[in-house]
Every structure is written in structure tokens, then in C-alpha cells.
């Protein structure tokens, strides 16, 4: 049988158009040839999958209708079975048909009320976390609440208590609070009749929102944290996360977002109010509160704002005026040389630092290194030099260092110290033995520790007292791995370094990427905990690489998105007390802080501003809506990052900031704009997706 004939038979089978003769033919074939049978089944599977996929929403609706029908049928037959069973027993006992009929009728009514179409037995809506002497009214009885007590629709709570909802949401009721749990058909989940209620409601399905009725209207929650208060004058709502729709009974509504506050006066439409409760025309979207003090000048930066050298590793590009100007404009406190191609052959790669010797070994190309690593004289940045990886020829197939090459690699590391610090006198502040090899050695931390120890000993023999780390960790979430690694190497490293490359790449939403920027402190914390477990004294922690993600191309690298990411990384690093934060990278086509033509991107402007003005330790400063506006105060600047895709009207309440003039620098997609010194405003409109620095003037 030809392939085409076979395909026609299979297609006809799938379409249900086989003639009896064809069916017989295909059947015989499948019965005697397991391969043909499996091939037909594979076709059937894909055919069914495609049918299902193309049936889409309509197919889903048909299934839903069928499921509803089946559940209703079960309910009806269940009731009939119950009635028949009761009637049999009643007939046996009394033999009176009228009694049987009466009982059956009662059961039908009772079950009909209880078993609404397809409804399982009623479950608790939530339970009490903290009772605090509050009371529960259930029907006519009033009782003291107790922790753990289940709550059902119809229950009324009075007094201070804390309640957990079945979906994980939590509600807190004030001492004067009165709250009723409503049945499903009420159209609201709760009714707050008096007092205050703070709530953290987990994200709700759009079709079934969490709604709270008050005497003046209704608050429809879309997954959020908020405080709702009710008194004789009206309902007051303050949202700290997410959004709540506030609807007046007499019409009118406001959608209140994180940081905003609104009230619903009795008999009136909802309106915006400010933090002091005064009605305003425009809502303040968020409030930043804090304390500022100048500190004792001159202030050193506690966070070294750094930059990874990428283009500058290539000799021809490093000497171009546009590159030098860009570097001078950004003035990073730390320059890190950690480009992977550094360990390539300098004869074949413009970024290569290695020379392949005649005997098959490697040595460093001192001439190339001299041209790209800036001399100490006149240099404003400290240097961190990494030996980023093992030379390709010395790697195993799984990218580890071949065991027979450990000594040669250690010598190579020592030779680099010799060339850069002894011969060229570049005065490198920090050295780093490999980056990301914690992933390559994911199942053998001890082997990596032994390797790094060997290299460290060789390097320190060349220059005693040099500051070493290794590797720059790509993953900081595996405390067990880190503890095993540090147990072997503790006391021999002078600082720890790690990289931040958010996951999901181009597919990730801006907020997902920015949220990961703010998780730096958790990573640093894990590193510090694992280090502390070794018993070694604390060491500095540096975040040495970060970028929006690692999947170029993405136009966000050249936009405000990357600038915001960098700003959030540095804010998070400053708060976490890190010694440095370095972005990836200087000037390449995609990731660069500067475009290849020498023009600054938002990320470049941000780096320059932060490098210049982040001085002194972080001061107390909080944002009422951190998911919208991130804030950092230090003696050198007040930093405000608007993550929102719309302008944010921000209230500023910063003690100690009134008496002096402030210069304002704003970075947006369009670049940097500076505004002349003024006093710090009480309210400021932050442009959409922007980074604002208020810099105190002398």
C-alpha cells in the first residue's frame, strides 16, 4: 500500500468517512502491524487535540452546560431516592399513606432549600484568628468569639477581632466595628455597619469580586490591602496596595488606587481626600514620608555605584573619544572587568586577553591588557578584575575545569595578578575568581571551593593582601549549597559577590522584572546567612552584575524601563547595606548604559546621577505605595522612582527638608531634565515611568 493511500485511509477514519471496505482494510493493517496501529493512534490523538483546541470557547460552553445538567440530574435523582427510602420506612411502621405523603413533601421542601442546583454542603466562609473579646451573633444567640471558630454566612461580629477568609484573605475589625457575613446571593461578601476594618484581600477572580457593603455604598475589592472606616458621617477608604472600587448607594463611583484616599459622605457622591482628611480635587496617588539630614560633609558613598566594562575590553573601542566621554560622564565608582571573552585568544577576538603559546599553554597578552585597563593615575574609579571562566581548551564537556588543568589555571590566575598589578601597576582593588561557576558546579560545591582555594593561594603568593572573592554567584537561593561551599572556604575570601539577571526575559512584564530588582536584599541576606553559618567574621557583599534581563533584543534596554530597573537595584542595594552595585554594561548595542553612538540612555543618566549623589547611609523613608513609587533618602539625595505607566501625584512629607533649596533631576524615556533649586514641594507630579532625584544644595 502506498503512503498516500495509507494517509487517505487514516484521514477518512478521522473524518468518519471510511467505507466498510476501507474500514476492513485499515483494520487488517493495524491488527497485523503494531507500527501502523501506533501511527493511527498518534494521528487520532493529534486530531482530537486539534478538534478540542479549535472548539475553543464554544466547546467549553457545551461542556459547562453538560456538567450543570449532570449535577442537576444527580440532585433530582438524589432527592427522589431519599423520598422513596423515607416513604418505605414510614409505610412499614405506620401503614398510613397520608403520613408518608406529608413526610415526603416536607423532605422535598427541605432538601430543595438545602440542595440548590448543584450545591455541595455549606462550608465555612472563614475562621477567627484572634478573638480579643469580640462577640458573635448567630441567629438569636450571642456568644463570645473564640480563636479557630468557623464563620458562616449570616454571622455578625462585633468588637476587635481578626478573621482569616477561606481563600487566605485576612480582615481586622476595630473595637467599635460591626461586621456581617453575607450569603452568596446578597451580591456582597460582607457588610461593614460601623467602625474600622483593615483588610488584605488576595487577588480575586474578576467574575466573583470581594465586595463590602457599607451604609453609604459598596467597596468592590480587586485584590488589595486597605483600611475601611464607617461612622455617622460616612465611609472612609485608604488603599495601600491594589485597587478598590468605591460605589455610592445614590450613584457615583471612584476607583481608589494604592496610596490614594477617598470618602463617601452620607447622601453624597464619593470624593478624594488628602492624608489629613481634607477634600481635594485630585487624589494624591502616594505619599512618601521620611526624615532627612545633611550629615557631616564630606560624605563618602556607602554604596559604590559601578559599571561592567564590555566595549572597553576591546582596545580599539576603548580609546574612542565617545567611549571615554561616556565613561567620564557616568563616573562610576567601580569598574569591573568580567567579560567572558577576556579568556579568549587575543589574536582571534578583539576582547581576548589570552595568548595561545607554542606549547599549547596560555599566557596573558600584557600589551592588550595595558591598552584597555586604565592606569591608576588620573583614574577616578576603583577596579575589580575577574577571571571570568576557564579557557575553553581546559574545560570538560559540562564546562567544568578539567582536573588535570587545576594547577595550570591557578598559575594563570597568579600570572594575571603579576601582569596587571606588578608589571602594569594598575592597582586593582578587588579580584574575582570566575563568575557563575556555582551553576556549573551545582552538585559539587566542595570541588569548586577547592579550586577557588588553590587559585586564591597562587594569587596571594604574587601579591599578599589582595582582596579576593569567587565565584560571582549566579544563584543565591540555595542556602544548603552556599553553606557547603563556605564551610570549605570561609576565612579565605575577603568579600562576596553576586549577579542579578531576572528570569523570563523578553516575555516578562515590566513589573515582574522590577520586582526582581527589589529582591536583591533577600539574595544578599541568604549569602550572609550562609557565610555566617561557617563561623567566619562578616565580609562585604557586592552586587556585581545586573540587567533588566539577558535576552536581547528588547527595546526596553534603551528605554526608561532599564533606567527604572537600575534605580530599583541601587535603592535595594543601598538599603541592604551592600558595598557596591554594578550594572551590565557600558556601551554595547543592547545592554549599554550608553548607545554605541555615544548618546546616553536613561540607564546611563541614572548611573551618572546615582554615582554623583548617593552619599552617606540610607535615612528613614517610606512610600505609602511602594509598588507604584519607590523611594530612598540619604544625605546626598532624595530618590523617587515612579514605576507607574501614568504620572503620579506624590505627597512629600520629609522632616528636616524644608529649610534648604533642592535641585530636581528627572530621567524619563526622553532623557534628563534638571530644574533649578526650589524648596522641597509638598506635592510633586512625577512623570510616568521616571526617576527623580532631589539633590540638596549647599
Amino acid at each position: 500500500m502506498s503512503d498516500q493511500r495509507l494517509e487517505c485511509l487514516r484521514e477518512a477514519y478521522l473524518l468518519g468517512t471510511l467505507t466498510p471496505a476501507e474500514r476492513q482494510e485499515l483494520s487488517e493493517l493495524c491488527r497485523h502491524d503494531a507500527g501502523q496501529r501506533d501511527a493511527l493512534l498518534a494521528e487520532v490523538e493529534m486530531d482530537l487535540r486539534l478538534r478540542s483546541l479549535y472548539a475553543g470557547e464554544a466547546g467549553g460552553q457545551r461542556t459547562l452546560a453538560a456538567v450543570r445538567h449532570l449535577l442537576n440530574q444527580e440532585r433530582d435523582s438524589g432527592m427522589q431516592r431519599t423520598v422513596r427510602a423515607v416513604s418505605r420506612r414510614t409505610h412499614q411502621r405506620h401503614g398510613h399513606r397520608w403520613v408518608m405523603a406529608l413526610v415526603a413533601a416536607c423532605l422535598v421542601v427541605g432538601l430543595g432549600l438545602w440542595l440548590r442546583p448543584g450545591q455541595p454542603p455549606p462550608a465555612a466562609l472563614g475562621h477567627v484568628l484572634v478573638a480579643n473579646g469580640a462577640t458573635l451573633q448567630r441567629g438569636d444567640s450571642v456568644q463570645a468569639l473564640s480563636a479557630g471558630q468557623a464563620l458562616h454566612a449570616g454571622d455578625s461580629l462585633s468588637g476587635a477581632t481578626r478573621v482569616a477568609w477561606a481563600d487566605g484573605s485576612q480582615l481586622g475589625l476595630s473595637a467599635t466595628g460591626r461586621l456581617r457575613l453575607l450569603p452568596v446571593e446578597a451580591g456582597s461578601t460582607l457588610s461593614l455597619d460601623a467602625g474600622d476594618m483593615d483588610a488584605h484581600i488576595v487577588p480575586q477572580p474578576a467574575a466573583v469580586p470581594f465586595a463590602i457593603t457599607t451604609p453609604q455604598g459598596q467597596a468592590v475589592v480587586l485584590g488589595t490591602r486597605f483600611v475601611l472606616s464607617v461612622d455617622a458621617g460616612g465611609t472612609n477608604l485608604r488603599v495601600s496596595e491594589g485597587r478598590v472600587r468605591l460605589l455610592a448607594s445614590r450613584g457615583g463611583e471612584l476607583v481608589v488606587s494604592a496610596g490614594q484616599q477617598a470618602e463617601l459622605p452620607t447622601g453624597a457622591a464619593p470624593r478624594w481626600i488628602d492624608a489629613t482628611g481634607v477634600a481635594v480635587n485630585n487624589p494624591v496617588d502616594a505619599v512618601v514620608t521620611g526624615t532627612w539630614e545633611r550629615g557631616q560633609a564630606p560624605l563618602a558613598p556607602t554604596l559604590a555605584v559601578g559599571l561592567n566594562v564590555f566595549v572597553g575590553v576591546e582596545a580599539e573601542r576603548a580609546i574612542q573619544p565617545a567611549y571615554r566621554d561616556a565613561l567620564a560622564a557616568m563616573a562610576p565608582a567601580l569598574l569591573r572587568f568580567a567579560r567572558g571573552e577576556q579568556i579568549h585568544d587575543s589574536a582571534s577576538h578583539p576582547a581576548g586577553w589570552l595568548r595561545l603559546d607554542a606549547d599549547g599553554g596560555y599566557s596573558w597578552d600584557a600589551e592588550r591588557i595595558a591598552r584597555v585597563v586604565p592606569p591608576a593615575e588620573g583614574r577616578r574609579s576603583e577596579l575589580l578584575v575577574s577571571i571570568p571562566d576557564f579557557p575553553t581548551a581546559w574545560r570538560t564537556p559540562d564546562q567544568r575545569l578539567r582536573p588535570d588543568c587545576v594547577e595550570r589555571f591557578a598559575r594563570l590566575c597568579a600570572d594575571l595578578v603579576h601582569v596587571v598589578d606588578r608589571d602594569l601597576d594598575r592597582r586593582v582593588s578587588r579580584w574575582e575568581i570566575t563568575r557563575g561557576t556555582d551553576v556549573t558546579y551545582a552538585d559539587d560545591p566542595e570541588a569548586l571551593a577547592d579550586l577557588v582555594l588553590r587559585c586564591a593561594a597562587a594569587m596571594q603568593a604574587v601579591k599578599p593582601g589582595l582582596r579576593l572573592s569567587g565565584p560571582a554567584f549566579a544563584r543565591c537561593d540555595r542556602q544548603d549549597w552556599l553553606e557547603a561551599y563556605f564551610a570549605r572556604i570561609a576565612g579565605r575570601l575577603d568579600y562576596l559577590s553576586f549577579c542579578v539577571w531576572p528570569s523570563d526575559g523578553r516575555q516578562a512584564e515590566d513589573d515582574q522584572l522590577w520586582d526582581q530588582a527589589e529582591q536583591i536584599s533577600e539574595r544578599a541576606q541568604t549569602l550572609r546567612r550562609a557565610w555566617a553559618a561557617s563561623g567566619a567574621p562578616p565580609v562585604e557583599v557586592l552586587q556585581v552584575e545586573s540587567a533588566l534581563h539577558n535576552e536581547a533584543p528588547d527595546p526596553r534596554f534603551a528605554g526608561a524601563e532599564a533606567g527604572i530597573f537600575d534605580a530599583l537595584v541601587m535603592i535595594s542595594a543601598a538599603r541592604a547595606g551592600l558595598a557596591a552595585s554594578c550594572r551590565w554594561n557600558d556601551m554595547d548595542g543592547w545592554f549599554g548604559a550608553y548607545a554605541p553612538d555615544g548618546s546616553p540612555r536613561p540607564a546611563g543618566e541614572v548611573l551618572a546621577l546615582f554615582a554623583r549623589h548617593l552619599r552617606g547611609a540610607a535615612l528613614p523613608c517610606t512610600s505609602s505605595a511602594p509598588a507604584r513609587v519607590a523611594a530612598l533618602a540619604c544625605p546626598g539625595a532624595l530618590v523617587l522612582v515612579n514605576r507607574w505607566p501614568q504620572p503620579t501625584r506624590l505627597g512629600l512629607a520629609v522632616q528636616g527638608a524644608d529649610a534648604i533649596p533642592w535641585e530636581r533631576h528627572v530621567v524619563t524615556d526622553s532623557g534628563l531634565v534638571a530644574h533649578g533649586p526650589t524648596s522641597l514641594p509638598r506635592q510633586v507630579l512625577l512623570p510616568e515611568r521616571s526617576i527623580t532625584l532631589f539633590v540638596p544644595q549647599p
Binding site: Q4, V44, L64, V67, A123, D167
Partner: protein
């Protein structure tokens, strides 16, 4: 994308309190995943529908036994796997023991393969992604064949290809999709 497991848990929590709308939303959100799971383990469209419906009816009755840990879909697929087995057995029981028809043969093979769920697999999402990688003309052909349910002769006319060649093209497209799904599973 597969539905957010936390959102599903929120819906399930509401369904447990008697909110039938919430349960309807669960059905609509997950029926595609259950259906794709069943397609790979049965031999005809009517068994798929039977399994999907029975799965949601069973799930409804067992809602209280589900522990909300963002794993409702795997829980549901476990139920579906049981229904696949029992439905295949039921259908075979209805046939004579010596039934040698093609349908009986395929039912026996499927039953012997056993319907084990694959951990963490997004059943519906993978196929959609694979479809998007096909050439536009190939997608148009599949759309006419499955979305518009056109006959082979109508497709031959529409795509100006003989029926035999078209059957081969469709076979190759399904094979391409199958390989794509397998590659996705392997990389996952």
C-alpha cells in the same frame, strides 16, 4: 497561558461556599487542559467528552477534599486519569470479547497504555504555541479542517491540491505538531 493556580484556588474556595458561578468559572478555565490530557489517552472524540464531563462532576463532589496549595489542575488531572481508565474499561465491556473491529483494537491498546498524568505539564498551552510556529498557509489549512470542519474534498478545492496530497500534508502537519509537543516536554 495556563490559568493562574492561585486564582483557581480562589475560585475553588468560593465554589466550596456554594457559589455556583465560581465553579462554572473553574470549568471554563480548566476544561481545555483536561480535554487535552484526555485526547492523548483515548481513541475517539465521544470518550474525550465523556471523560471531561465526568471529571468535573467528580471534582465538584470532592471539592472539600482538595487542599488549596495551588495544585488544583494536577488534582483534577488525577481525577481525569481515573475516568479515562474506567471509561475505556466500560466501553470494552460493552463489546463482545472477540470483537476484532478497529475501534475495539484501539480501545484495548489505550487501556494497556494506562493514563498516567505527566507532572507539571501544560496540556493546552503547548499545542497553541506549536501551532503558532507553523507557516501561515499551514495554519490556514488546519483552521479550515478543524475550525470550519470542512471535508477533504472541500479543502482540496480551497487549497488547490489533490485529495491524496492534502491527506499527506495534513498527516505531516500533525506529525510536526507532535514533534513540537514532544520537544517542549523534553525541554520542560
Amino acid at each position: 497561558m495556563p490559568p493562574d493556580p492561585h486564582e483557581i484556588d480562589a475560585l475553588v474556595a468560593k465554589a466550596r461556599t456554594g457559589n455556583t458561578q465560581a465553579f462554572d468559572n473553574v470549568v471554563m478555565a480548566l476544561q481545555g487542559e483536561v480535554r487535552q490530557f484526555a485526547c492523548a489517552r483515548v481513541s475517539s472524540a465521544d470518550v474525550v467528552e465523556e471523560v471531561v464531563q465526568a471529571t468535573f462532576v467528580t471534582a465538584f463532589h470532592k471539592l472539600d477534599s482538595y487542599e488549596p496549595r495551588a495544585c488544583f489542575l494536577p488534582w483534577l488531572i488525577g481525577i481525569a486519569a481515573n475516568h479515562v481508565r474506567s471509561e475505556l474499561r466500560r466501553r470494552l465491556r460493552l463489546r463482545p470479547a472477540d470483537d476484532e473491529t478497529l475501534e475495539a483494537l484501539l480501545l484495548r491498546v489505550r487501556l494497556a497504555q494506562d493514563a498516567q498524568p505527566e507532572a507539571g505539564h501544560a496540556y493546552a498551552d503547548g499545542l497553541q504555541a506549536c501551532l503558532e510556529r507553523l507557516q501561515p498557509r499551514a495554519r490556514a489549512l488546519l483552521h479550515s479542517r478543524y475550525g470550519e470542519e470542512r471535508s477533504l474534498s472541500a479543502l482540496a478545492q480551497q487549497f488547490k491540491q489533490p485529495v491524496g496530497a492534502l491527506a499527506v500534508t495534513l498527516h505531516r502537519l500533525r506529525a510536526t505538531l507532535r514533534r513540537c509537543l514532544e520537544a517542549g516536554r523534553a525541554s520542560a
